[in-house]
Symmetry: D2
Subunit: 366 residues, 4 copies
């Protein structure tokens, strides 16, 4: 039986390249359609990325030979769908937020499911913002989305910002075990790959730290509430908690966002040992379904005093596991810990692929 043909919107950009690198050899999906800006359209993919391929892994000859289409020209995608070359698209579009929102909607309206990495639709009411281990049931919005908008096969799902991946899964594991989160301080030390390419100038990252990333603190504070929200009235009612205060910093690290977290529980307070047990044993739907991109253990605990560290821990279990360490009581709240996830794999393309795998098992991609 053949693989499901996949399209990438924004295929020549940084995240688009990551999708292509990560999908090489994927057991279910195969990249057969690549779309990008008009500047790249008409070129072979290999030509379009010549001199600006920034992944360590390279692309296959088959992908290199794909003719890049204009992402704005929906008719090309529709033709690819009819020709059996595109069952759904990963959106890694890099343009204005408003344009992305319109374009992604147009793809969905044309019958093409859109699994997006962009922030454009994160706050669209009936669009689920998925972390596969946390809120897979939010995919129940898809039929509602389709009905409401008159779409038949198409739909849109998004993933959240890369800055929150490292603490959302540990947080959720505690909530699921009965320990509701009340308030949370988080300071992030974020890698430069999160800013794309060329992204952060090296003059700002040699012997330096930049204590600001535009829009990142707001996303870090608000997106968790939608992810932890409940389905209601054909949309998502945000969770009332936790209340989050974020300080986001850019540090001279290539990949891997680190987060220092202090957490106050809203109700019962687990012991440090209980916290460790909950995290060490946590698994969720992607693990039960044994999805190809799912880590065996979503949370890896490290006992050493000085872990997690980006260079040593970011690649844990296909770079899809979150590593947690320095678990200790907080001097003000209840619990302190440091956590880390790979921002361009778990936090971007890898997370998108895991969402696609989940959607496939739920039958939304057929």
């Amino acid at each position: 039986m053949g693989k499901i043909p996949v399209g990438i919107l924004g295929a020549t950009g940084m995240v688009g390249q990551q999708y292509i690198a990560l999908l090489e050899g994927h057991p279910w999906f195969e990249v057969r359609y690549a779309a990008a800006s008009p500047r790249s359209a008409g070129k072979k993919y290999a030509e379009a990325v010549a001199g600006r391929w920034h992944q360590v892994k390279t692309y296959s000859d088959a992908v290199g030979a794909l003719i890049v289409e204009d992402a704005n020209d929906l008719s090309r995608a529709v033709k690819a769908v009819k020709g059996g070359d595109c069952a759904f698209v990963f959106s890694a579009l890099e343009m204005g937020k408003e344009e992305i929102r319109t374009l992604e909607s147009a793809y969905a309206a044309a019958g093409i499911p859109v699994i997006s990495n962009a922030s454009a639709h994160r706050w669209t009411g009936d669009v689920p913002m998925l972390i596969a281990e946390i809120n897979p049931h939010h995919t129940d919005l898809i039929p509602i989305q389709r009905t409401k908008r008159g779409w038949d096969r198409g739909f849109i799902v998004v993933k959240p910002n890369c800055s929150i991946q490292s603490y959302m899964i540990p947080l959720y594991a505690l909530i699921k075990a009965g320990y509701a989160a009340g308030r949370l301080f988080v300071t992030t030390l974020q890698a430069v790959s999160g800013a794309g390419y060329p992204g952060v100038p090296s003059l700002d990252m040699i012997d330096n730290v930049v204590p600001y990333i535009g829009g990142e603190e707001e996303k870090s504070e608000q997106e968790p509430l939608k992810i932890l929200g409940t389905l209601k009235d054909g949309g998502i009612k945000n969770a009332p908690a936790p209340r989050i205060s974020a300080h986001c910093n850019r540090v001279p690290v290539s990949d891997g966002h680190t987060a220092c977290v202090s957490l106050e529980f809203a109700g019962p307070k687990p012991s440090i040992d209980t916290v460790k047990e909950i995290w060490a044993s946590f698994t969720a739907l992607p693990q039960e379904l044994d999805l190809p991109m799912a880590p065996k253990r979503p949370i890896i605990l490290r006992d050493e005093a000085d872990r997690p560290q980006p260079r040593k821990d970011r690649d844990a279990d296909k770079a899809m596991a979150v590593t947690v360490g320095r678990i200790r009581p907080c001097n003000i709240f209840d619990l302190r810990f440091t956590c880390l996830s790979h921002n361009t794999v778990r936090g971007a393309a890898g997370g998108g692929i895991l969402n696609a795998e989940l959607l496939k098992t739920k039958g939304y991609l057929s």
Copy 2:
């Protein structure tokens, strides 16, 4: 009129070198005595530091020609005092805590004032832990210290850990203006020079962050309480607040500790504008006395969204000013900001020299 002759204990180590570099050309003090480990004793200073001088600035020929004495051999120091070559010492000793405590006490008992950078005596009851802008009145402990211990001219004062310098002065400025601090979250991004030389291996600092510095969080949480404490019963009664929770990280920065702070006031809450006004206009005793090492403004405010940054702000005003930026409301507490100070100048040798200048104007060094 001649300069006051100064000795350096631990003169060949990292902090000792900083004292020597910073004291070059000092209007009041002149290094005339250098002591270090037995390994260096008997060598000229220039020979003793050959191949391990890690400062950008170099030392004068006069200092290079000093014969290094054994710091353990108190008789040498006493002889230097008698010979008019040492009115007091800066202690930058690098040995076991217990040994330092004993040795510094011995110097003081021998009539030699000790202005120490070491942590050994920070929690000795009658030893003031000074930040010249905050608690200059704690020097009132010196006569008590002398009486209690039967010392005539000698005494010991210490300075606090380098990790807290960036937020203590802003915090104190608010307290002084009537806004008591209740609770404080701080995450530090600390420079490698804080660990001395060789210090942190480069393999741990290339494309990496280490989320742990031994003992640093405890110091960051406890030392502020002594500094803000009140004189009572011949000692210092710790301040009851603020309650502090610290996350300390090592980042690939040479000099300059950054701190991300969230602050809750205990009583009245100033507006953001009031906070800015208090900080921008703050001065204290070192400024009034126009001490040579004192920055014109202890606190420099930056309006840019992305400041302070270590490489751009650490050297502000002789590297003695604290730079504060990103002043904004906190989503949980009252106030959020990022601050930065030079850890080996303000946070080490520069802070020690400022303390000496203060002590001189108070008459303790004559």
Copy 3:
């Protein structure tokens, strides 16, 4: 007597900012005219550089209050000259080479001396490419240039590329002492500030080296020949030697270009000791004239096995001295050494200012 009023073309760019930072407090020159792209024109300088001032030093209030003019609008400059606000300009223009060539010529034609940092006129026959310690006599081309082109007061001089500054002065000192250079291998390890801002992306400079800088090897091989050339027929006849082969690399260093050099003499071969003596004692016209920007010693020798190093040596003597170390025989040629100069001071704005000082003493700026 007042200072000479100076204009900066390209005043808001990286090199333009460096000129402004370095000219603060200059004893002879004062920035009174700032021109840049139309986008900045009409704004106060402080507004024009808000959020993109990349120097550690800041600009004066007087410079911040200057109204930025459109550099393409020559009439503004002419008006400034008439108004006594601009006796000559430093050109730090950032536009196409052809446009710069035309524009710089237009300024000169309008009677305004142009001391340029740009590469546009480096190979114009009657334009001297100056390193003040090496070829100050090439300024004799100025009267020829004026005559030939019918210019009265205006002229153009340029400075060479930043990659060659570290080895050209040591090389020249040897030539001057009678040891002609035959062939020279050089591998450079260049700082990112040489690429301007934003310049090199941080993703390319974290845990990485880029073994290529466009056009840099050609410049490194050819410019020395013009600098060492002789005046002939109203132009410069390139020196026939040394023959140079360059490998240029970008490394994760903010400022300071390092060069590893192997040199073969064409005639008599000095001993290593003779080389050291020549370099240690070398001075030239800028030192004799005691020009404000001139280093006391153009070449600083370091005996330590592991110097020069960018972070420790780049700032030597106002960042205008070249530091040389590792002087030893070569296994193939005659002499091996490593040298270093500050690329944005000696290699850019500082070198331009030194050239201006030289031109002033020669009477070309009055």
Copy 4:
């Protein structure tokens, strides 16, 4: 059929850890014996490396449970041999050169083949210094070595220094194709992992380059001559060429040594295109034998102007391939290029394992 049991001397050090990480899952070899300093002896391997395991990959439970033996106690190794737990050893000893030389000889004398990463025996006359693609025939010294020293089963082979791996294979490919090398300039930009752990202090590698690595230039100049030498009189007669001049630098890169090379041929000179063809098509004995650790292509050519780069190219083909780029004529010699190899894999443990695989197929390990 079972795997060959392998011992590691110096198993807890940096290179020893690399052997253990790289041998995980090896199809032929299995680590069953671990020896280190007396300090580690008697502990489980997992305990012995607790807090100082510096590899990204971890070790297996089986290796973690091994009891570390004292490497100086030969009787333990002999016992392991008898017990079927050690057919040969990889030596990654970290002690004095003289001690290593004696100890490795003692292992060989006791019947245990020693495949060494240390430099101690590199210049022992009858000890081959192997790069498996270049001089596999030097293993013919093993029977001679055994006879001469009265050893039966034991022998010693070594691998060369990590700094030369990147250019030796390209150089040899040209020689093999009939283009003898005459003279060679090389400037290396070496990664910090080459200095072990803790190795280079981070204060020396943040915003800095160190233009010196003790002993490295001598090794880079001399070792190639032995590797390219011919067997004669029971030893190796060094090749007379190429004459090499090396400049070795330490740069802020974790793994991956870069080398900038200028090469002069001794006889016929190939065109640039011929050079590219020779390199692109080069294979040798390890490829013919399809050894598990052998890269498919020992040399990977990159056409991009700015490659090879450490972060992008070091891991090519199990980090065992050399990447070459910037192939162009030299302005003085004949050919210029930049090459890169992974210093701790190809240049250390990976190279040692490849040597062991070669020795196994030649029957020396049975």
